[in-house]
Amino acid sequence: MDLHLTSEQTLLRDSAAKFIAAAGPKVARGFREQDPSFAPARLRRAGELGWLGILVPGATDGLGLGLGLGLTELALVLEQAGRGLVCEPIGLAAISAAALGQGRTPHPMLERVMTGVALVVPALQESAFGDDPLAPRTQVAGQDGALRLTGKKMFVCADGADGFLVSASGRDGPALCYVARDTPGCTLSTTQTVEGRKLATLSLADAPADLIPPHPSSQNAVDALHNLALIAVSAELLGVMEKAQEVTLDYLRIRKQFGKPIGSFQALQHQAVNIYIRSEATRSLVFQIAANADAYRIDSAMAIAAKAKASEDALIVTQACIQLHGAIGFTDEHDIGLYLKRAMLLSSLFGNAAAQRRRYVAIAGLTA
């Protein structure tokens, strides 16, 4: 079902679609195993278009750079980024900018992040199992102005990052802290993913950090950023599954066997409809949540539901796309595998579908 959009939202989506026309599978292939695995100039271009400051209120950032738009706009841009297999971390940068700009005085990194000159990404995960984001084992100690972080963060998209937004437990519960990459006590060890980009473990040993206060409308800065991350990644997963589905439908229309296009066979038609139903469900879920929530005050149960659904559906859809392609879909040469790998990466970030469901049981009060 089409989205009901304002004319401004339609324009924004169209300009994002133009941006991704210059991306796509070929470009994504070129970045595999590069360092960084994206084009810094393209990230700056996204900054010029306003997308990195899309959630930052223009009046309060002190720079007038922020667009001060909502989650629908963020989701529209990230859906396109997913469709285009865009490698520049637009979503992670945009939600980090939102966090850097949420205090009474914006963090000094805000301007550089919003313009894409520097990159800051969230570092919230601590285990493969999926943990309670509000009870990090990483500790923060000291007074504001002289904070120190100790602990370990996993699965950080650290490619090209200049700093991190780290969740840590302090005296008053979970706190969000900014730590610079080149700060003493901060070390990274990176792992190559099949998708082409790297994930890193961030070790913090008494590393100096700055406190990021919560937005006035949110309870806790860690919770707000985590929910925002779940929605952002869900929107990107949506784009990935939609584009993979389109590529596959095209293939079903042209590939012939038994003298007919294989898309005329009912078994394959029903498979195609099954993946269409999944992407439609994820689409309605992501955009209904986006349309009805404030970026700094997303309901946790809703964010978790979106990420659980998007993660599961993106994997099922992209796997079905490989199957519907047959042997050619199993080759590295064909692009359809790139969508499966992107889905693998994104669905694992900030907790996979099973981890989300585990958390959902308690957060949504299912057993109450």
Binding site: M1, V273, T282, M302, K309, A364, T367
Partner: protein, 383 residues
């Protein structure tokens, strides 16, 4: 779930809630199956007197002329209190069809009794030889001067044995190609001579539907709706609305509450494997609510849904079955028990709910037919 009530809407919701609490008989609340007319129709009449029987009808026809948000509030509140399912063939199907395609005389004759609840309607589409392949239907209506003579056999007709009138698809041109071009839309008085109705018991133990035999039944020519041979288009015109109606997430939300009741009672609620499946189902209920709100929003902005509404029908009906799978799993050894199972957490008619849910992927076009429609008409796959 996603939409927040505006102040006036919140006020309306409270008005509806309070009135329902005061007026809906307790014996009619939380019923798994539709009560028989003797029990159900007095409630229909109460709603009618209140002016709330047809929220979606324009006021010129005796409806409420409610906004879509008010309509959603009404269905949510009716579901919340566990109101019984009303006969909908008049209110949701033939009523709107007559408003769009009927003559003035047809509207005057048929719309007021639907509002008043003095006439019950049945839908005569399926036949023994025409189920999924509906266009192959063979019940003949032959025009002889000022009347049709109807000969044939309809089946799976919900509530036909309680109904006064039927709107039916009949074959008026046996030679037409495509076959859809030889079908007309006819209103038939079920009290006419030559009609025999036999109720059919379902696997759920009730007799919700019947088969109807027509043997030389005389139907006045003015009971034709629209033009001769144009019945297929009329029957399909309002399909999107019908699918939206059957996809209301309230059915799934009710099932979710029943699962919780039984899972607490049996103790399976503590099992992490069960919790995971319950979470997955619950997340899908949230997704269904999102799809429903999305569809309502589009309809609100006057964009007709068309064949893509089949997505909603498939998702809602298959999810309801998944939920009922969880329900019998939660009930464990109690699952096959007939009737209400009373527990410390509430009472649920598990077996009836489970068995009833088998129908939803069949009626109104089976899931497989809906998938064919989506493949061809929405995904543009070749035939």
């Amino acid at each position: 779930m996603f939409r927040r009530d505006a102040p006036a809407e919140a006020e309306f919701r409270m008005e509806v809630r309070t009135w329902l609490e005061a007026n809906l008989p307790v014996a009619l609340r939380g019923r798994t199956t539709r009560p028989p007319p003797a029990e159900l129709m007095p409630w229909y009449h109460t709603l009618s007197r209140k002016g709330w029987i047809a929220p979606h009808w324009p006021s010129e026809y005796g409806g409420m002329g409610a906004t879509l948000n008010q309509q959603i509030i009404m269905t949510e509140e009716l579901a919340r209190i566990g109101a019984p399912h009303l006969p909908v063939q008049g209110l949701n199907h033939i009523g709107p069809i007559l408003m769009e395609f009927g003559t003035d005389a047809q509207k005057t004759q048929h719309l007021p009794p639907i509002i008043a609840g003095t006439v019950i309607w049945a839908q005569g589409y399926s036949e023994p030889g025409a189920g999924s392949d509906l266009a192959s239907l063979s019940t003949r209506a032959t025009l002889e001067g000022d009347h049709f003579v109807v000969q044939g056999h309809k089946i799976w007709t919900t509530w036909a044995h309680h109904s006064d009138w039927m709107f039916a698809l009949v074959r008026t041109d046996p030679q037409a190609q495509p076959r859809q071009a030889g079908i007309s839309f006819l209103l038939i008085d079920l009290h006419s001579p030559g009609i025999r109705i036999r109720p059919i018991k379902t696997i759920a133990g009730d007799d919700e539907f019947s088969e109807v035999f027509f043997d030389g039944v005389i139907v006045p020519a003015e009971n034709l709706v629209g033009k001769l041979h144009d019945g297929w288009r009329i029957a399909n015109a309002l399909l999107g609305h019908e699918r939206l109606g059957t996809s209301n997430p309230q059915f799934a939300l009710t099932a979710l509450e029943q699962i919780k009741t039984m899972a607490h009672a049996s103790g399976i609620m503590a099992d992490p494997a069960f919790q995971d499946r319950l979470a997955a189902a619950s997340i899908n209920v949230t997704a269904l609510s999102a799809m429903f709100s999305h569809a309502v929003e589009l309809t609100n902005h006057a964009r007709s849904l068309g064949p893509e509404s089949s997505v909603l029908k498939i998702f809602a009906s298959e999810l309801l079955q998944t939920l009922n799978d969880l329900l019998i799993e939660a009930a464990g050894g109690h699952a096959p028990t007939e009737g209400l199972i009373s527990t410390n957490f509430g009472a649920v008619d598990v077996a009836a709910s489970f068995l009833q849910s088998r129908r939803v992927t069949i009626y109104g076009g089976s899931s497989e037919i809906q998938r064919n429609v989506l493949a061809r008409r929405v995904l543009n796959l070749p035939s």
